[in-house]
Each structure stands twice: as C-alpha cells, then as structure tokens.
C-alpha cells in the first residue's frame, strides 16, 4: 500500500519534534451493500475508503492526524502536521522497519468483489421470497447484503511493519408483520470473516422464515407487565448482555481513566463463580476476528473473567502506558479516520454445566428472552439497557405466551453476580459495536443463562 521508504520517512518526520513513539496506519477498503425491498434490488452502495492515520505518543499524550489519501505528499504532510503539534525537542530518528508476517488463520475461498451483483442478489431474493410467503400478515420484507475487503498496514517506530486483509460478508433479512393498525418486526442477520462461501453455510429460505416467524409471533403478543423477575436469556445474540453490561467496562479506554465500575479490581471476585468470560480474536473466520489488531499486535484469546475472578482488561498500547500493562492485542479502529482504542473482538460467556431444561424449570414466574435486540451501557455507572425482540412468559417452569415491549435494565456489576445458572450450548451471533474508535464487527455469545433477578421494562 505504501513503500517502505515512504513509511520510514513519515515515521522520521512524525518523531522529529520529541515523540517517543510513532505509528503509521494505512487503509484501503472496498465496501459494497445491496438492499432489496419487496424482493427487488432497490439500492446498491459501492465505495472505496483509503487514507492514512498517523499517531505519535509522548508519555501518555497522543497527537494524531489523518488524511483521505495514500499519496506520498499527503502522507508526509500528515506526519509533519502531527509533529508540529508537539514541538518539544528536535531530534533525528531513523526507523528500521522489519516486516513481520503473522499468518492468516481465516482462509477466504471466494473474494466477494470479484463476483457479479446478480449472484449476490439471487441469494437475497430467495431469502426475501421465503420471508414474504411465510404468512399473509407479512406486509413488507427488506434484505441487505454487505461485503467488506479491508486492507490495513501498520508501521511503527519500534520497527514493526505488518499487514492484514480482512474480508467479511453478511446478509440480513427483516420482516414486517401488520394487522389492526400495528406493525411488528423480525430480523435475522448472520455474517462471518468469510467471502461468498458464507452462502454455503446458510439456508436462505430458513433465514427468511425465521425473520417472519418472529414478526408474526410478536404481532399476536400482548405487552409484558414490567417489574423485577428472573430471566432466562437464550444463547447466541443473548450474549449482548455480557458485551454491554461488562465488556465495555473492561476496556482499557475507560479503565485507564478511572471511569470503569471494574477499575482496580484485578484478581477480585466480581462475578458469580459460574461465570467465565472470554474475548477471543483468533476464532477462525469469526466475524470479530483479526490476525493482528490495529496497532499490529497479534490477536489472542483473553480470558477476562475466570470462575468469577477478574483476570485481565482489554488493553491497547496508549492506555497500557497509563495502566502499566502490555497490550492484549485489543486495539481496534473502524478505519484511518478514527483513533484506535481497546475494543472487543468475539466475546462470550463460556459453557457451564447446567442443563437448559433445568434452567427453564427453575423459574416459577419470569421472562424467557429468546431473541435480544441491541443495547447500550454507561461504562461509568455500569447502567445498561437492552431490548428483548422476542420474549415469552415463563410460568411454573414452562415457556408460555409471547410478550412484546420488554427491555432489560440494570447495572453490570450486579448482573454478573446474579447469573446463577449457565447452560452448556454456546452459540455466537454477529453485531456491529459502536464507540469512539468507530463501528467495528464484533461477535457476542453465550449458552442459555439464568439471571436470578433483573428489572424488566414493559407496560
């Protein structure tokens, strides 16, 4: 993407005013999105994003700049602009770059950009047609296809030169069920760090029917009466609860600044002993997987919580300086325009030993959250909320009628103590996580879990 000579010169310029670390991040990304409405292609987005982001550190201070160009002059200008902001010394630094190849554990069989639109649209059409014909109550179906071919290069004043090429593919189908002046929706959206071979793993008609089944079920559901109750949260996207309630508070971006509910608690029992939670960026072809993080550190499997004890935070280089900790390979950024910081990759609660049927049977009156929607958290207070897209009342240990409008709210440090049953079947699901360093692909996951008591919002 950029020549070794240009990188060396840019790093030299960036270091020239007294910085103790410099980094050049270059990106060339090709994105495509295809949207179908009512079974017909409606819009296609097709873009190339390319540019450079340069950072320098002096102690725990950071200066960064970016330019939407990979042109040599633009890269050097960006380096000079960054250096100008520091001006603490004059030094001549010559960086010797040694290229490292970290290998790629995410094989890609079919690079999406090389395949014509019609092939992608055919798959989507099957998905949408199955969704539409599921029931007369389905009033609209939209589908989307997304491909990203994200190439990155990182060169640092420590001499590192590394590259990665991340190809991801995702499809989504959303159904609207209508009746009596009301709408309800259902969505399914699987993806992976894969090319178009993703299609081989998926049954388009099944995906469409799943989205429509959810919409129709919810159209006939009544509103839940809010209150505090035990909740069983299903595997897969149910893992969003850990992602929001705890994951964000374990990112160095808030721990280093003392803004986390879990700051200063390494080695302490912060969760129920049944809870082991992991962030693993090395899962082959995982949606949130990376070979190297966006500072060039190889990704790894980080056990965050082991049997309830806090083992590590997710750490990037800059926040690591504040915390006196090494990077855990957790630095991520959407692209060159964003400053990287510690983020999650594929985060999940590990399998436990409880049987799913025992978990449901243990609840006299509560909520079974089959499909979670998205959520959000304030890492400072740990206060989170998320939507239950498909929920059912549990009565006398049995899953009963569907309910709509439920949301779960609470505090992260409370809920991980209250997870008192953990099933054995872990499943992961895909999401986009938004934070200061942009929107990045992450997986959430867990087995079926029971939270002994949580506030359920309803009407």
């Amino acid at each position: 993407m950029l020549s070794r000579q240009l990188l060396t010169e840019a790093l030299g310029r960036a270091l020239s005013t007294g910085a103790d670390y410099a980094e050049v991040y270059a990106e060339h990304t090709r994105n495509k999105t295809i949207n179908l409405v009512a079974g017909k292609t409606d819009k296609i987005g097709d873009g190339v994003v390319s540019g450079v982001g340069i950072r320098i550190f002096k102690g725990t201070r950071c200066v960064c700049g970016c330019a939407s160009s990979l042109d040599s002059q633009a890269v050097l200008d960006c380096a000079s602009r960054v250096a100008q902001a520091l001006q603490e010394a004059t030094q001549v630094e010559h960086v010797v770059l040694r290229e490292r190849l970290f290998g790629d554990v995410h094989p890609i069989k079919i690079v999406p950009a090389g395949v014509e639109n019609s092939y992608k649209i055919d798959f989507m059409r099957q998905m949408c047609q199955a969704a539409m014909s599921y029931s007369d109550e389905i009033s609209q179906v939209t589908g989307s296809f997304l491909e990203a071919d994200h190439r990155i290069l990182i060169a640092t004043s420590e001499g590192l030169l590394a590259q990665d090429r991340q190809i991801r593919t995702r499809v989504s189908v959303s159904s609207v069920a209508s009746g009596g002046g009301e709408n309800q929706t259902g969505t399914v959206s699987p993806g992976a760090r894969k090319g178009l071979e993703l299609f081989e793993d998926l049954n388009p008609a099944e995906l469409g029917r799943e989205a429509s089944a959810q919409a129709v079920t919810m159209l006939h559901a009544g509103y839940i009466t809010g209150g505090t109750m035990p909740v069983a949260i299903e595997n897969g996207f149910g893992g969003v609860i850990f992602h929001e309630a705890c994951g964000h508070s374990l990112e160095a971006s808030c721990v280093a600044l003392g803004q986390s509910q879990f700051a200063g608690m390494l080695g302490e029992q912060i969760a129920n002993p049944k809870v082991t939670a992991i962030d693993d960026g090395t899962i082959p072809n995982g949606w949130g997987s990376v070979n190297i993080d966006d500072e060039g550190t190889p990704s790894r499997k980080n056990v965050l919580i082991e049997k309830g004890v806090l083992k590590t935070y997710m750490v990037d280089k800059l926040n690591g300086r504040r915390m006196g900790m090494e990077s855990t390979g957790s630095s991520r950024r959407q692209g060159y325009q964003y400053e990287p910081t510690s983020r999650m990759t594929n985060t999940y609660i590990a399998a436990g030993e409880d049987r799913d049927e025992d978990i449901i049977a243990s609840i006299e009156y509560g909520l079974y959250a089959k499909k979670m929607g998205g959520g959000s958290v304030n890492p400072v207070t740990g206060q989170f909320n998320f939507a239950v897209n498909e929920g059912y009342i549990i009565r006398n240990g049995k899953i009963c009628e569907p309910v709509r409008g439920a949301s779960l709210i609470g505090k992260g440090s409370d809920i991980i103590r209250d997870i008192d049953m953990v099933g054995s079947k872990v499943a992961r699901a895909q999401g986009m996580c938004g934070a200061s360093s942009g929107s990045i692909p992450t997986d959430v996951g867990q087995p079926l879990i029971r939270v002994s008591s949580i506030t359920v919002g309803g009407r």
Partner: protein, 444 residues
Amino acid sequence: MTYQEFKDAVVRYAGQRQIGEYELYFTERDSAKVEIYKEEIKSYKTESGMGICFRCIADGKAGYASTENLTAEEAESLVLRAWDNAVSIESEEECFIHEPGDSYAAVEQDGGAAPQGTRLVEAALGLQRELYQADARVIDGTQSFVAYGEEKYAICNSKGLDLEDRVSYSICYAMPLVSEGGEMYDGLKDKMGRLEDFDLKAIAGEAVEDAVSTIGAGGVSSGSYNVVFSNRVMATLLAAYAPVFSAEAAQQGMSLLNGREGEKIAADMVTITDDPRYEGGVVKRTFDGEGVAAYEKNVVEQGRLVTLLHNLKTAAAAGVKSTGNASKASYSSVVGVSPFLFYIQPVEGTLEDILAQAGEGIYVTEVSGLHAGTNSVTGDFSLSSKGFLVKEGRKGVPVKNFTVSGNFFTLLKDIQGVGADLDFLGSNFGSPSVLVPALAVAGE
C-alpha cells in the same frame, strides 16, 4: 490528481461509455479536536478528508460508486462500477438527475472562523479547569473536548447544475465525573456554535450540575405516570422517530404514516417544522443531496400531517414535488430522505409551568439505549431513563434505573403540554419540554 483533474477524467469516461445522465457529489472536511484528561492534553487530532460519489442513471435507475482515491484508474473504475450497479437495480421507481432552475437562498454562515494558534487548546484546558472548580467532588476521569470543523458540500451534474455549500462550527463537550459515598456519577453538557460564544464557566456549571443532581437517586415504583420529557430528551425521541416522516419509508410500508397526509396525527398544540436555514442554527444548507433547493416547511401543523418528506424519487412516485429532503449521510451514501433541522415548535410556558401542569409524575432528563429501545416501524419505545419525581407540581428527588415505555404515534396524540423552552440537540433536532400523561414506567 487534483479534484478538478479527477472530475475531468470521470466526465471523459462517462462520455466514452455514452452515459448521458450523471452527477458528482463531493464533500471535503477539515477538523481539529483537543481532548483533555486531568489538566493535560490527552489527545490532539487533526483530520483532512474528502470523498467523491458518482451517480448515474441507466433506464431510470440510479447506480452509485464512491472513492477517496483520486487516480486515473479509479476514475474509470468509478464510472464502470456505478453503471454496473445501476443496471442491477430492479425497483420500479424512477430516479432523476436534477435540472438547474431552482431558486437557491443566499446564506450567511455564522459558525465562525478557524481558531488561530493555541485558541482551541486554551479553550479545552479552560473548560477542564472550570469543571474542577465547579464542585469539590469532581474527580480525575473528568474529560473535556473542544473541536472545530469546516465542511464543504458540492454537487455538479450532466444537466449543468453546479452548487456548493460551506459550513463551519465549533463543538465542546464537558464530561465531569463526580464521586460521593464510593459511587461515581457522570454528567454531560455539549454546545455547538461559535467558539468565541462559548461561556465555559456556564457550560462547566451545567455539566457538573447534571452529575451532582443525580447523587442519591433512588428507584421508582412501576406504574403509570404523567411524564415530562425535558426539551433535549424530547428532541432525542424526535430524532429516533424522524424516519416515520420519510416518504421513502412510507412508500416501502415501513412507516405507519403512509397515506395519512391531511389527517390528525398529533395533539392540536403540536407543530413540527423542518428548517434548513433556521435563524440561529449553526449549520445552514441551501440544497439537498440531489441539488434541489432546501426550504422551510411544516410537516405537522396543529396536529395535522401536512406532508411527508420527499426526494425526487419518492415525490415522482407520489405525484408531488420534492420537499428538498434528499439526504446523504456521508458522501458515499445512497440518496435517502431525512430532515435538515427538525423541531417541535415552542408553545407556552417555562419548564416549571409544564411541571406544575403535570402535578404528580416523573420529569425525564436522560434516556439511553435508543438504537435498541426504539423501533420506527412499530413506533414502540422502551427506554432506560433518569430524572426526577414531580411532586405537587415541582421537581422533586432524583430517580434512576427505570424504563419509560410507550408508542410514539400514541404519544404524539396524547401530548398535553408543550413549553416555550425550545433547545437543540446538535444541529439537527430540537424540541421544547413536553408533557405526556399516563406512560408506563417500570422500576422496582
């Protein structure tokens, strides 16, 4: 390659391919941002970016391709990709390249000029100092940032349209952290406008008050309450449900307002306006994402739905004129529909008057989790909230950890009070304080 050279190359390739109708949309952005932690610069960031989108029409269908990579090779690829994408479109609605001839307003931007030298750094450090001075309970972890940005939007097309808007603005965020009794509380105040107009002491004061006022907040019993949404919370809700006013969403069956123009959809006192050049607004625009002149319009007038928001495609499908609301979230986005500066018109009374009108209930000052807790297709919302109890018509003790649930369409009809205290959230949405009776609250 310069933008001009790239543009010439694109026009040449389009000509060679005999593409008759096309448009180039160009944005450029320069910005600087200073973040403070403790009493030091934590991060100083400068950004210089631009992007180009080529849109062409093939048999009435629009194809897009965008890039940031200005090379001759890319110019050719852009044209080929856009054409390829256009011929893949199957939806029947016709897309258009806009003809010149609209009358475009001349505007004076008043976002201010680029801060010189160390002005930005000084403002950020000053804001941080004011935060620490505002209250003894303010602790490290408190952050401030100040940013300045300039943006240029330009559109030119094969029919001879050639337009440009330039905007500039400063933004500051004060994010204090306070500690009491072993618990941490965070506050926030942001402001957008001209750097020289920012009253740092006042901004810091409000941010710290936001944090301190929640100390000792208790829970709420579940039940039905009169709810007063603060002006900014109501603006947040309006932002979340703005898509329901889009004719595109309506035509696709994704908005319950489809076909309801002329009907009563809200209480009499509700008027909702979209004004691209709101007097006192920071960002003023003269044309939309397709180059149609942008103008002020009431979308809801005294409770009646006057019009949905249209771009050229949705207007043609509905047999009306575009309302100049074609939107592009970024240069690379496909054209959609959205408002410019969308706000509920102020009516009467201060916040205190609205609280007095509520009598007993809850005053909601913060909602979170909007992307999960709101659904514009169904209108349902269920939002994690913070605020204060309202007792005997006055603001009472702070409360937290409860959800307020309802449906946006029902809420619009149920509104019983709209204050005069209009405030804006950034540069896109605004509202006065609003009283809604009998909303479901879930707490303890």
